[in-house]
């Protein structure tokens, strides 16, 4: 995986964010005064990927797979244990002071819960305008209010509601406020951490459509983290599947949803309930047994082997690399990667 050179001309499709072997271990300590480290929760355990300009990279996985820690690392809300990430060629984790501020301006985040991520005592205008106080050069003096109203309009809210408080809005509208706040500094990359999972179905579609429309208008790149595979298929150009801190399979939307070669991806896809009783009868279900192991003590070799029906001796010994496999030329971390037969068993 190569880091892209800093390129002043903004070409759609070139790499904007490059993540290389990112690791985050949270220490587990024992003792009161003299704390000894007795282990580590391997939340993110060697993740590499690239995000291209104007694309959406979906990150899917079950709870505890490290997808939210990955988001927090990229936002520098956590310090990585090791690894590198570059945004437009600049190292995210080495930057400090003014340079870090400039980098952060270029990458913003939309949070999961629209009820807790907005300060209830601030007006919408203050919430969306707060980024301008940290980055005064983003909105020339006196233009702040106008800019906030433009943002409200952009996300489909009434610009006259600038003096209202978050509790006066519904869940879907609050998520729009969160999106407006993320857009305030005209970032190029937005990390969306489960942006629609707290919303009702009919509202979810409105927010997904808004995100897609904004991407088209502003040329944004998204990292879209979600546990709902149907939503991710809808919005993502490429998809990374995570399991216990690692990316087990990554590819285009078509490669993951139609030609998955990793058993975990296949099981995950087969577990998604399809809202069509007739299509269901024809599906060939895989039922995984057991639960996800603890990230504090992941299985040796392939992390998935304890729940995998294909597991052999080699899986316990040798860690499969996320590399292109013979079955299909997209990276998959399985010794026995193969396409699933499409005929029902």
């Amino acid at each position: 995986m190569t880091a892209s050179p800093a390129n002043p001309t903004k070409v759609r499709g070139e790499t904007i964010l490059s993540v290389d072997n990112l690791v985050k271990h949270f220490p587990i300590t024992q003792g009161v005064l003299f704390q000894r480290q007795i282990g580590a929760v391997k939340a993110v355990d060697g993740v590499s990927f690239e995000l291209r300009r104007g694309e959406t990279l979906g990150v899917v996985g079950e709870s505890g797979c490290g997808k939210s820690t990955l988001a927090r690392l990229l936002m520098r809300l956590e310090t990585p244990t090791s690894g590198r990430a570059t945004l437009e060629g600049k190292d995210l984790f080495k930057a400090s002071g003014g340079e870090l501020r400039r980098l952060r301006r270029n990458m913003q985040m939309v949070m999961q819960d629209p009820y807790t991520s907005l300060n209830p005592r601030m007006t919408v205008g203050d919430i969306i305008g707060e980024p301008f106080e940290i980055h005064p050069d983003a909105a020339p003096k006196g233009s702040k209010q106008k800019r906030v109203q433009e943002l409200l309009d952009l996300v489909g809210l009434n610009p006259e509601h600038i003096n209202r408080y978050p509790h006066q809005f519904s869940g879907g509208q609050r998520q729009r406020i969160g999106i407006a706040r993320a857009l305030a500094l005209k970032p190029e990359v937005i990390v969306c951490d489960e942006p629609v999972s707290a919303l009702d179905v009919s509202i979810q579609a409105q927010v997904i459509n808004l995100l897609k429309q904004l991407q088209g208008e502003l040329g944004l790149s998204y990292i879209f983290i979600a546990h709902d595979l149907s939503v991710v298929r809808h919005i993502a150009d490429r998809v990374a599947v995570m399991y216990l801190g690692r990316i087990v399979e990554i590819g285009t939307e078509d490669e993951i949803y139609e030609r998955a070669t990793h058993p975990y991806t296949q099981a995950l896809l087969s577990a998604v309930p399809v809202p069509d009783p007739e299509a269901r009868d024809q599906r060939n279900m895989i039922r995984l047994v057991g639960d996800v192991p603890s990230p504090a003590d992941p299985p040796s070799g392939c992390h998935f082997r304890t729940r995998c029906w294909k597991a052999q001796d080699i899986c316990a010994v040798e860690d499969p690399k996320t590399v292109p496999r013979a079955a299909d030329p997209h990276p998959s971390a399985c010794h026995f990667a193969e396409l699933r037969p499409t005929t029902p068993a």
Binding site: E62, D200, A205, L229, E253, A271, P273, D276, E278, D291
Partner: protein, 343 residues
């Protein structure tokens, strides 16, 4: 005890195991009266699964709480209606008799197993509590039965895990413990309120399979409350779609997915991203669900409805029976269904 522990098949002649008739529930708050349930009627027979589908605030959980008799009163009050269990109206029974029905005849599992279980008692003790209190079992018998129940819900190593506390179980296993508790007194009706919403997809699939197996083995009737159109498609026999405290459409599962006859159901089905269909623009239902203190005139769905006409603003739509035993509370039910077929 008036409700005899008779087998589920012994429902009165022509009657249903459980039947709701025109139930109205309101919440009296300082800000005003919220009309949460506005005339819900449905029925359930032994061995069948009815799915109650709706978004937050549609009244699906409140209906279930009314059946169980666990509404928070105040603020919730049952204004009118009947809840008939084996032909007898539960709402007119004194609390002591309702308690006899709860758990033994109708049991419920909740969405969030972690907060529904007591964190300071072992799970075996919690499952056994019902057996000791209600079935009069000794400690040893209750413990033995608790292990059997944990086996029944496929908790591995049940005998070893009986002394474990809720926090030592994963989300899926906790939900199994909840199911074991609900099954302890061998109920005839199981109400599952969003049983898998807090779980991951692979675990969700396991729990839904378990519920379907148990229902078959024990010949229980099940009310599955959910907002997830996908989950419903796999397990339900019939579906009741709720909006603003009313059932707007009621039909068997296949017809409803093939040709929804209410604009709200149609809108919901069209607005969910599908795993088996690649994404274009999702169609949406415009606007927001109504404030239950100010439900719109006429049809409550009219401000959001693409089929809206003047009649929808003026007249409340009554349930329209469509040919095949389905109902839809829409003035234009026939047109909506024909549109859905044509699509």
């Amino acid at each position: 005890m008036t409700v005899q522990p008779t087998p589920a098949s012994a429902t009165p002649e022509g009657g249903h195991l459980l039947e709701l008739r025109d139930l109205h529930v309101e919440f009296r708050t300082n800000e005003g009266v919220a009309r949460v349930i506005n005339g819900v009627s449905y029925h359930l027979d032994a061995g069948e699964t009815l799915a109650v589908l709706g978004e937050s605030g549609s009244g699906k959980s409140v209906t279930a709480q009314a059946i169980m008799g666990i509404l928070d009163t105040p603020p919730a009050f049952v204004r009118s209606g009947q809840i008939l269990y084996k032909g007898e109206d539960l709402l007119t029974r004194p609390e002591e008799q309702r308690r006899q029905v709860r758990g033994k005849e109708i049991a419920m599992i909740f969405q969030d197993a972690l907060s529904a279980l007591n964190p300071v008692f072992p799970v075996g003790w919690q499952i056994g509590e019902t057996l000791r209190q209600r079935a009069g079992m000794s400690r040893a018998d209750a413990r033995r039965r608790a292990i059997e129940l944990m086996d029944l819900v496929k908790i591995p190593g049940a005998a070893k895990r009986i002394g474990d506390y809720p926090h030592q179980f994963s989300g899926g296993m906790r939900q199994r413990v909840m199911i074991a508790m609900a099954l302890a007194l061998d109920p005839k009706v199981l109400i599952a309120d969003e049983p898998t919403t807090a779980l991951d997809v692979t675990v969700q699939a396991q729990i839904m399979d378990l519920l379907a197996d148990l229902r078959r083995e024990l010949n229980m009737a099940m009310i599955l409350i959910t907002h997830d159109l996908g989950v419903v498609a796999g397990v339900a026999d019939r579906i009741a779609v709720m909006y603003a405290g009313r059932i707007v459409e009621h039909a068997d599962v296949r017809s409803i997915y093939k040709a929804p006859a209410h604009p709200y159901t149609k809108g919901l089905l069209e607005s969910i991203p599908r795993l088996d269909v690649r994404g274009q623009e999702l169609s949406t239902i415009k606007g927001l669900p109504p404030n239950l203190m100010r439900i719109p005139s006429g049809c409550p769905f009219h401000p959001r409805c693409p089929y809206v006409q003047q009649v929808c603003v003026d007249e409340f739509p009554h349930d329209l029976v469509l040919g095949d035993g389905r109902t839809s509370a829409c003035h234009f039910a026939q047109e909506v269904r024909d549109d859905s077929v044509a699509r």
